[in-house]
Symmetry: C2
Subunit: 118 residues, 2 copies
């Protein structure tokens, strides 16, 4: 997850996907990589930050221009199939939140200066 | 990060903190634990999900009832000091987003049923 996504000019939307994996692999890595690549091709996609730890806890936040863009990606056939497989075998627990990003700021060690909403 | 936070009744607010750690430890773990405990005592705090991987990439999402609650926590003296120390030594790169959660839903393997916005 480097570099961090940034500079999307609020307001825009975040899909906050927090989850706990099962022990089952069964093609999970391939599916996850495919979904990240496919999401990046969708209209309104801005970027994604994603982290998973060794205990299988994960948070993926994807960023989108509008709620309609999120809804269209949700309806995408291959994404729908992946979600169904996720419920069937890959995730023990998950939570999805749709949120409107109102403010963004950050900082990088390279310049040491605050970087308000690029 | 088990169990996942849930059931906060939108609308509420999320602080999405994505970050990349430096190599420096220097009390980071103690500070992080202290900040999580202190945040949980603040008015309007709802919960937090946090994950960091072995490469030092982290995403912490804290949930709050109102923007004023977030602003008050931001002004908290000990939190302010921790943020300054974070910029000085612990984080190579970070991004903070303030977002209004409009929808929440989830699923748990225990019952196998969708759990729309509790």
């Amino acid at each position: 997850m480097t570099p961090l996504t940034s500079g999307f000019h609020p307001p825009y939307y975040a899909v906050i996907f927090s989850n706990q994996r099962t022990e089952m692999d069964a093609g999970y890595g391939d599916m996850a990589a495919r979904m990240l690549a496919l999401a990046a091709q969708q209209p309104g996609y801005l970027g994604v930050d994603s982290v998973r730890n060794a205990e299988g806890s994960g948070i993926t936040v994807s960023y989108w221009r509008t709620l309609d863009d999120i809804a269209a990606w949700r309806r995408h056939t291959e994404h729908t199939e992946a979600r169904h497989a996720g419920r069937a075998q890959w995730y023990r627990d998950f939570r999805v939140r749709i949120a409107k990003v109102e403010r963004e700021y950050g900082w990088q060690i390279q310049d040491g200066t605050a970087d308000p909403a690029a």
